[in-house]
């Protein structure tokens, strides 16, 4: 009886701790054991020097500095092992779980908060990034806290001590704008929402929001100025302009994580059921609360902005960049599910949990998950079989980051197109068949075998492979993970 009372009293805390333990255990036993991926290796490369060195490398790259600075400090205390590096992201994810609870509770009450915790713990997308040495779980945490304090400022405008909410809101803005560029979309949405519902916000809020906005603009301005005076490089994978399919993929990634093409397409083909779900919501209870409008804006405006920018300025439409909309999507779905009649609620929640769990475990334990990048095994293999007179060529050139983390072989490492990261311009040269001919001619004079590892197709992988197949004898082909292939060619006969 006492135990029952204890559980009842600390129901929320127990649920949150259980969810955190689950995420922690799954990360340690599964996600942490996976090979370092390209982006992670890039983070390591950018942060393993001095603090100023880190900033100098980040400023010429595409991202903002907060995460890298934190990672640099983390490395100083906890070392450079993959587990240690990934632990920081896991920490942010674990902190996001109670934050999710408070956000759900603030918006729609305790039930939504608790369900949100369960959703977050089972999310394959979040669990994946909880074990990736990148800024996405930091972005998630900052976004959730930012939304939470924004809602507090708005919803408790007359009854609450606002000073702390303003301070924390301001801090989340400062952290957010230095975590990811897409965080600005959230601020844009908040500005629109504020202008529409200005009367429902606290007195003098315009002044405070203006101060925060000026601060955010100033910080971003300073960063852009630094980028302007230092110049930028172009070493990141080239993305293609997004299509409507990419928009749907964002939603499927948020639910089922990164699954194979067939499964993903089948999942997306179920979209009429989502329409049915919205029809089933039609009831006399279902009005459109202001916070619902706010979350809807937080889903659709950032997607629209990202799509428009990607289509017109530069492609950057990636589901991980849109982590900023994930809390709003989850919260809206859970809120609407709780509006269904009780029985239907149970069935829908159970169904969603089954989908999330199955996807989570597939992603955690399947070797063929498309998000796997098994550079570790590829490096180990080449380390074991390649001789000092051989050459190990990497294409696209930037996969050198994860390979050099693992590679301990005797064959010389090169890239194609040939790229020297330490040269003045630091730009990756364009691919051309002429340069391939000239490089292979040169290599043929010195090396006996060429191990060509191809990953992150930049549009020339097939051309390159065909040329090599035609002009050299291929002795071996091997796949380490989806999209990561090794081809071995004989360059000359002794």
């Amino acid at each position: 009886m006492q135990i029952y009372r204890f559980i009842k009293k600390y129901e929320s805390a127990i649920w949150i701790v259980a969810a955190m333990l689950f995420v922690f255990a799954l990360s340690i036993t599964s996600f942490f054991t996976k090979s370092l991926r390209l982006d992670e290796a890039q983070s390591i490369f950018q942060t393993n020097g001095s603090m100023w060195g880190t900033i100098k490398l980040v400023v010429v790259d595409v991202h903002l500095p907060l995460y890298f600075v934190l990672l640099h400090i983390w490395e100083m205390f906890f070392g450079m092992s993959v587990t240690s590096l990934r632990s920081m992201s896991l920490l942010f994810l674990l902190a996001s779980i109670p934050a999710f609870y408070y956000l759900g509770k603030e918006a729609y009450g305790k039930k939504v908060g608790l369900l949100l915790v369960g959703f977050a713990a089972l999310s394959p997308f979040l669990n994946w990034f909880g074990a990736e040495t990148r800024m996405y779980t930091l972005l998630l945490l900052v976004t959730i806290l930012n939304q939470l304090f924004f809602l507090r400022l708005w919803k408790r405008n007359h009854t609450h001590n606002r000073a702390y909410a303003w301070i924390f809101y301001g801090l989340t803005v400062v952290f957010g704008v230095y975590t990811h560029y897409f965080f600005s979309f959230i601020l844009f949405v908040q500005a629109i929402f504020y202008l529409i519902h200005k009367k429902t916000f606290p007195a003098k809020s315009f002044r405070y929001f203006a101060i925060v906005a000026t601060l955010a603009a100033g910080l971003l301005g300073a960063w852009f100025y630094l980028r302007m005076i230092t110049g930028t490089n172009d070493s990141d994978p080239h993305l293609v302009a997004p299509s409507s399919v990419d928009v749907f993929n964002v939603f499927s990634n948020f639910f089922i994580g990164f699954q194979g093409n067939t499964f993903n397409t089948i999942f997306l083909s179920l979209w009429p059921l989502a329409i049915f779900g919205s029809f089933a919501l039609l009831s006399k209870h279902t009005t459109l609360a202001k916070q619902t409008i706010y979350f809807l804006m937080n889903v659709f405006i950032p997607i629209a902005l990202a799509f428009i920018i990607s289509a017109t300025i530069r492609p950057l439409f990636l589901s991980r960049y849109l982590t900023i909309i994930l809390p709003s999507i989850y919260i809206l779905i859970i809120h609407y599910v709780t509006l269904y009649p009780k029985k239907m609620q149970t069935y829908v929640i159970a169904g969603l949990c089954v989908v999330l769990s199955a996807s989570l475990f597939a992603q955690a334990f399947s070797e063929t998950a498309p998000s796997n990048e098994n550079f570790r095994e590829a490096s180990a293999y080449v380390s074991a079989v390649a001789e000092p007179q051989d050459l190990f060529v990497l294409s696209a050139p930037f996969i050198t980051y994860p390979i050099e983390y693992y590679y301990q072989g005797q064959a010389r490492l090169s890239t194609f197109p040939i790229w020297n990261r330490y040269e003045e311009s630091k730009q990756i040269p364009e691919y051309s068949e002429e340069s391939l001919i000239s490089a292979t001619d040169e290599w043929s004079k010195t090396y006996s075998k060429m191990y060509v590892l191809m990953g992150y197709d930049q549009g020339y992988e097939e051309q390159m492979r065909l040329y090599l197949d035609k002009n050299f004898e291929r002795t071996e082909a091997r796949q380490f993970s989806p999209g990561l292939n090794l081809y071995v060619y004989k360059l000359r006969y002794l």
């Binding site: 409507s244 399919v245 928009v247 749907f248 397409t265 089948i266 997306l268 083909s269 179920l270 979209w271 009429p272 059921l273 329409i275 049915f276 919205s278 029809f279 089933a280 919501l281 039609l282 009831s283 006399k284 279902t286 009005t287 459109l288």
Partner: protein
């Protein structure tokens, strides 16, 4: 437990012009893309899809046009109190129900009205016709008992019109109890001498009783909420046959109530408009009636309405009638054509079924391309419906509107073949039992879908097309569910499952015995 509906929330309608414009654009984009841009698959299925889409677009656009502005307010003079005859149409309804209506009508706060019971019990061969006469005498109100049948409800009213003299005529069905202020709220509008009739909502006070009354009323809410309020602006109020006041002069000009059609009210209203009279819809609950309390009565009522509306479309060429304004023509056609929607529902539900069995598709596109144009269109439409109905439009209403597709198809069949349909009064007391035979088409559809799925998987594996078509079928079946449940009010899931498992066990036992015997 069925929720007690809010009594007047359906009247607090609102609309957003930017939203209406966005929805219109989304509807047109969807239509154009489906019709002209997507590559055609099977041409016959494509033709069916286009017929369906033309109808959907027509419905969507006319709805948006109707709800564009719902704030029309007519002038009135509260001091205007002309003579009014109050008619209560009766044809065998239970005496206690008629009594309640008669007393309420007699006691209305109005200085100048006479109440008459229009007793058709004799011609309808109902046992209580004399009881009704006695009751009228007892209550001190008039009673016209017809001895010669003809013209159903319209004929009954015309008979009373011939024997009364009031300037205005208020009409109530036997179960529609007027509020004391009914005449105070409606008559003042007749200071406009060209006003032909005033209509008020046909509110069902028993909406909370069971699934049928709930679905039935919630379906009505959309009509008496945003649609009727929007029609007001276009001088196109629909005459509904009860809870209304008609100008005797206007009625005389159109030759009394129309007896040619079983939608006598709808047709009479149209004729009155045609003669240049105006109409007003008063968005206030001023009388309370009874929804059909059982599924059979609901089906009969809907069939009668559908048959009447289709009769209007086929008998009177709405678009070419000279006296009606263009907005009035659109409104009448839009209202009447709603009862064709069942045929479009049939097309929509057949498409996945045909795919499962044959692999034929109307459009050669990936399902995601369809989603790109369909989702914005349907989301905006849904939001518009919710907003304009003050969030009173329910899944139950949708289910009854779509689930009733078979009623519309039968009505269309009857209209095309010229089959006579008599005017039948909706039963005022619930009939007992299950009416599962009325949802056989739905059950058959479910069975065919279940049967078709392995067929399709065998043909092409678990492909996105199979999954998407199956999802569409589930979508339709899910919408049918509340409608189907209303047909079997006594359904007990637990006992049904027990029966099924007993049946399966006995079948297995028999099969095992047969096997043993053979061996």
């Amino acid at each position: 437990m069925i929720q007690q509906p809010s009594r007047t929330a359906f009247l607090s309608t609102a609309s957003s012009k930017p939203l209406i414009i966005s929805t219109t654009i989304a509807a047109l984009v969807y239509f154009v893309v489906i019709t002209f841009i997507f590559p055609i698959g099977n041409k016959y299925l494509f033709a069916l899809v286009i017929i369906g889409e033309i109808f959907h677009t027509w419905q969507a656009l006319t709805y948006l046009y109707t709800v564009w502005d719902m704030d029309y307010r007519a002038k009135k003079d509260l001091s205007y109190t002309p003579t009014v005859d109050v008619f209560i149409t009766v044809a065998g309804e239970p005496t206690d129900i008629v009594r309640e209506t008669a007393i309420a009508a007699r006691d209305m706060e109005y200085p100048n009205h006479k109440v008459y019971i229009l007793n058709d019990g004799f011609v309808a061969k109902k046992e209580n016709w004399q009881e009704i006469e006695s009751m009228a005498k007892e209550l001190g109100i008039g009673c016209f008992t017809r001895k010669i049948a003809g013209g159903a409800k319209a004929g009954n009213i015309n008979n009373a019109v011939a024997h009364s003299t009031g300037m205005y005529i208020a009409v109530f069905d036997a179960d529609h109890v007027p509020h004391a202020n009914f005449l105070r709220k409606t008559i003042p509008y007749f200071t406009d001498k060209k006003l032909g009739f005033v209509q008020t909502p046909q509110y069902y006070k028993n909406a909370h009783l069971n699934r049928t009354t709930k679905g039935s009323w919630e379906q009505q809410e959309l009509f008496f909420g945003p649609i009727c309020r929007g029609k007001n602006r276009l001088n196109s109020a629909t005459m509904c046959g009860t809870n209304m006041v008609i100008s005797r002069e206007a009625l005389a000009e159109v030759g009394d109530m129309c007896t040619e059609s079983i939608a006598e009210d709808f047709a009479t209203g149209m004729f009155i408009h045609e003669k240049g009279w105006r109409s007003i819809y008063v968005p206030e609950v001023l009388a309370e009636g009874l929804a059909p309390e059982d599924f059979l009565s609901y089906n009969k009522q809907q069939f009668r309405w559908a048959r009447g509306a289709l009769d209007i479309i086929f008998r009177y060429n709405l678009l070419l009638r000279s006296g009606l304004t263009l907005p009035q023509k659109i409104q009448y056609l839009s209202s009447a054509s709603f009862f064709l929607s069942g045929n479009i529902v049939l097309i929509n539900i057949l498409l996945p079924l045909i795919f499962l069995y044959t692999g034929l598709i109307p459009l050669q596109i990936s399902t995601m391309f369809l989603a790109v144009v369909f989702i914005p269109y349907i989301s905006l439409t849904l939001f518009n419906l919710s907003l304009t109905s003050n969030f009173q439009f329910t899944f139950s209403a949708l289910s009854f509107a779509i689930g009733g597709f078979w009623i519309h198809i039968k009505a269309l069949g009857a209209a095309i073949t010229g089959q006579k349909s008599s005017f039948a009064i909706t039963a005022k007391k619930a009939l007992e039992g299950n009416f599962s035979t009325l949802v056989i088409p739905h059950a058959l559809y479910i069975a065919l879908i279940i049967g078709g799925l392995p067929f399709a998987i065998h043909r092409e594996g678990i492909s996105p097309s199979v999954i998407n078509n199956f999802a569409w079928a589930i979508f339709s079946i899910g919408i049918f569910v509340p409608f189907m449940l209303a047909a079997v009010p006594n359904l007990n899931f637990r006992s049904l499952m027990t029966k099924i498992s007993k049946f399966l066990k006995s079948e297995i036992a028999i099969a095992l015995n047969v096997k043993k015997t053979i061996l």
